[in-house]
């Protein structure tokens, strides 16, 4: 508290104070993630506070087209990811989508994305809901990332089936989660906040074996 009074830097805005006190759902695992990550093999980290917006709009409707103009398209079928630049739209259902954007896109930080989506929907049937606090994001990368996920996900994660740039709503470690393959060896996993610590520890447990030499 004393430092704010003595500091010559500009006074903190209310938003800055909010950022300082917020806690991410898997924040308690930050050290464990760092300790459990194996450079060049499999690494895990949390990407906290991404902006996420739930969209509901019937495919082909005027509202869907206006929303698509904001997001850079809406995905058409299971697995598809649409989007534009750093804004991505994941397919959740025939008329349900999740927009994922950087933290700065949130309106509490001056971003206009959510309001643009609300404006696009207008008074038509559908939903634009700020879901940024609903899920957190894990990033799992490295040549063994796929085999860690395969321990608890029944989807076929082989690259001939699961292509980079696709995302599915499924179960990982027996809990519901979204799995987005962002690159050949990188995945984003979106657990709900209440499952985040469980899934984080579950993934760490799945990574442990790669810290030891392979048993022939």
């Amino acid at each position: 508290m004393a430092e704010t009074a003595a500091s010559p830097t500009p006074a903190k805005t209310p938003a800055d104070k909010d950022l300082a006190v917020r806690t991410s759902p898997a924040g308690v695992l930050r050290d464990a993630f760092a300790a459990g990550s194996l450079a060049g093999t499999v690494e895990i980290s949390e990407l906290p506070f991404l902006t996420m917006v739930g969209i509901r709009a019937a495919a082909g409707s005027d509202a869907a087209q206006r929303i698509a103009a904001v997001t850079g398209g809406l995905p058409a079928r299971s697995g598809d990811v649409a989007g534009n630049g750093d804004t991505s739209v994941l397919w959740l259902g025939p008329a349900e989508f999740l927009v994922v954007a950087p933290t700065e896109a949130h309106e509490s930080l001056g971003g206009s994305l959510i309001q643009s989506l609300r404006d696009a929907l207008g008074s038509d049937a559908g939903q634009v809901v700020d879901l940024s606090a609903n899920r957190t994001t894990f990033e799992l990368t490295g040549p063994q990332a796929r085999s860690v996920l395969e321990k608890g996900c029944s989807l076929d994660l082989h690259p001939r089936v699961f292509k980079a740039g696709t995302a599915y709503s499924t179960e990982i470690g027996n809990i519901p989660a979204l799995l987005w393959k962002t690159g050949e060896e990188s995945f984003r996993v979106f657990p709900r906040a209440s499952f985040a610590e469980f899934l984080g520890r579950w993934l760490l447990d799945g990574m442990r074996e790669y810290a030891s030499p392979e048993v022939p």
Partner: protein
């Protein structure tokens, strides 16, 4: 574990789904006019079919959509997947009453039938008849 072919997402493990009970149980057109017995029959009485059974499922951890399934309750063989509101595919043309479902479609109350449950047991007898007719 069943491997259930979701019409939106493709084959997924059974654990991603929830069961919704017997399909084609239409909501009564005039619930207020039912006797307690009739109402309890609508609420609680379901056929206990041995063989092909029409039932509802929802892909809870996937696309969250409901659909109908024809499943053999003995072999667990999944014979058909079809949309909510559609008639049973194995009985096409047999009776108009089958179009009644618990669908949320706007016209579901007008196409519904107040007594679909009795027809749920008829399939096994009709399909079994040709096999047993050789005696």
């Amino acid at each position: 574990m069943l491997l259930i072919p979701c019409p939106n997402c493709g084959p997924r493990d059974e654990t991603e789904f929830h069961y919704g009970g017997q399909a084609h149980v239409a909501y009564p057109e005039n619930p207020n006019e039912l006797s307690d017995t009739e109402w309890s029959r609508y609420l609680f009485y379901r056929s206990n079919t041995k063989g092909t059974f029409a039932e509802r499922w929802v892909h809870s951890t996937g696309c969250r959509q409901w659909f109908n399934m024809l499943r053999d309750t003995v072999s667990y063989d999944i014979q058909a997947i079809y949309p909510m509101g559609a008639p049973r595919p194995d009985r096409a043309g047999t009776t108009g009453a089958e179009s009644g479902t618990a669908s949320l479609a706007a016209d579901s109350t007008t196409t519904g039938t107040a007594a679909p449950s009795t027809s749920g047991t008829s399939l096994s007898s009709t399909t079994a008849a040709p096999e047993g007719a050789t005696k």
